[in-house]
């Protein structure tokens, strides 16, 4: 097992540059998730790691070895495709052992490896079936089985769960993570779903428009987003963003562009005197408190465990998630505050997070 390194990797399709100098380092045995909105280049990066697309400039290293010009089959990787890419005319067993068959491994070796992988994934009874006879979740497992049998240095996943229904997705998430830990394998997982990223990753790489926005552990990315994009992308419902200015002093005040004010416990120096975006996560808003402001309730969505409120304050719309039943109704006012809430200050123009 070995790590994976990308050094200033660039990808151009003809004249158009789609990946702009991406660098990242993934340790041996880590589960890394590449996440970002559609078109951010995450799949392209994965394919370059696999060798399915060429690298325009930059270096890709697997296990310390530069693999830019190494064919996919020699990179010691395995890939699970979004549509599984199972050979329709081969049985499950043959699908899983095909790579070994190509390599000329004797039947006994192939059968043994297939049996072991089948056991890990619960596929023993399905070995003689054909892909068209399997359900989505079963096909997913066969695709993983095929990857496991190869025993590669790095596992690559290209949005493998997006074709499954929600319930199955949750179940498979846990299974994949579990599997990766059992095998102590290095994995690179591509998804557009930030929940998948947060729940599965050891390390998250947030991408946008072909560039890295932030790399960090899930909690790092959640607690300390490097910019307003990451802040807004990670976490659901999305972080509330308010534009305005900070007035300094012992008790700094945040003035929205409407002129509404709220007292803050503290504010970073860098935030004074410039236009900023203030970010607060919906789950961090509280009811009441000394610095509460009057928010107008628009929509109430009780989910059982929580209450999600859409409120308006001046011209701003906020979302707030309360872990309690709240007897609020649309049209009423509710005092909401930032007490004890982690606050995120971003430069309004660049989106960069402002340090303390």
């Amino acid at each position: 097992m070995a790590g994976l390194e990308l050094e200033r990797v660039v990808k151009r399709f003809g004249e158009v540059e789609v990946i702009h100098g991406v660098s990242m380092r993934i340790e041996d045995g880590e589960f890394a998730v590449l996440v970002g909105p559609s078109g951010c280049g995450k799949s392209t990066l994965l394919r370059m790691i696999a060798g399915l697309d060429s690298v325009s400039s930059g270096i890709v290293r697997i296990g310390g070895r530069t693999v830019n010009h190494v064919a996919p089959k020699d990179r010691d990787i395995a890939m699970v495709f979004q549509n599984y890419a199972l050979y329709p005319h081969m049985t499950v067993a043959r699908n899983m052992s095909f790579a070994l068959e190509i390599a000329g491994a004797p039947k006994s070796v192939r059968d043994e490896k297939v049996a072991r992988a089948a056991e890990i994934l619960g596929l023993q009874t399905l070995l003689g079936r054909f892909p068209r006879q399997l359900s989505g979740g079963q096909r997913q497992r066969v695709a993983m089985g095929r990857a496991i049998v190869r025993d590669p240095q790095v596992f690559l996943f290209d949005e493998p769960l997006s074709n499954l229904d929600a319930k199955l997705r949750v179940q498979m998430r846990a299974e994949i993570k579990n599997l990766q830990q059992r095998l102590s394998a290095t994995a690179v997982y591509v998804t557009h779903d930030q929940i998948e990223a947060m729940t599965m990753a050891d390390r998250i790489v947030v991408l946008r428009d072909g560039s890295v926005e932030q790399i960090g552990s899930p909690l790092e990315v959640y607690d300390r987003p490097a910019n307003s994009f990451v802040g807004g992308f990670i976490g659901s419902p999305a972080m509330n963003m308010l534009n305005g200015r900070i007035e300094g002093g012992d008790r700094p005040r945040f003035l929205t562009n409407d002129g509404l004010a709220i007292v803050l416990p503290s504010a970073p120096h860098a935030a004074l005197g410039r236009a900023i975006t203030l970010g607060v996560r919906p789950e961090h808003l509280t009811v009441g408190g000394p610095s509460a402001f009057a928010a107008q309730v628009e929509i109430v969505e009780p989910t059982g465990a929580e209450t999600v409120l859409n409120v308006s304050w001046g011209s701003a719309s906020l979302v707030c998630v309360l872990h309690a039943r709240v007897a609020a109704r649309p049209g009423e006012t509710l005092p909401l505050g930032f007490d004890g809430a982690p606050l995120h200050f971003f430069d309004a123009a660049t989106g960069v997070a402002l340090a303390d």
Binding site: F13, G51, L52, D53, S54, A71, P72
Partner: protein
Amino acid sequence: MTEAVGVFEEVGRPRLPVAAALRLAALVVLATIVLYPLLATVLDGFKSLGELHDNPLGLPRQWDWSNYWAILGGGAYWRVLGNSLAIALATVFLTLVVGAMAAFAFAHIKFFGDRYLYAYLQLGLLFPSTAAILPVFIKVRDLGLLDSYWGVILPQVAFALSMAVLLLRNAFKQIPSELFDAALIDGCGYFRFFRHVTLPLSGPILSTVAVIGFVNSWNGYLLPLVVLDSESRYPWTLGLMAYQGQYSTSWQLVLAFITLTILPAILMFLIAQRYIVEGLTAGAVKG
């Protein structure tokens, strides 16, 4: 995105120049073999018979247009083209009308025995018209249609119906049945629905059926050969063979005639390539 599937398009790897060169060489050689007869036919129509003998492989030393002018100026050429056009258009029109009517019925109306009737109409897919040419000839004669356009048109339509109804019915079925239910509620009867919904949505399949029907009729030889007697009614295929029979020793004339008669087909192909290829192969695959 990856590149395509041909054998020399390796995924993500630089293509070997040697492979590319070999491929090109093979294709050029093959293209030459394919095109040479056609080019020879066109060019040799510009030669005199003597030059054909002395200079078979080269370009014409003198471009003698007289062969071509003679044919274009004579009535026979235009007459046979006109006959072919009339027959082909009538065949296509009837096939579309009659076929669409039946296809519509099979697609939207459930009635007793519909499966059997449909299977009956599909029998035509099992054997080509050539196998039935003799009894068809007798039938045409018994109906008094010998030596007439209809004697060619009607059998052509009849044999085209199996494929036409198959393609059209499948296409009509693609139109969601909810549309049909909504139309019925709106008070729209079968014919209005056909005119305002089915027809507009069926453009591609109609042109596929039209292309197949037109090409088959335009190129037909055996049926007109058997049915038609009068040279005045000959389509271009018969006209061509008649011309060759008449001028068999003067190849330069025959070649000019061939060139002029295949010209419409080649022009149509160049203009409507996509359509024609799709039509002919799609019809084959779906049938």
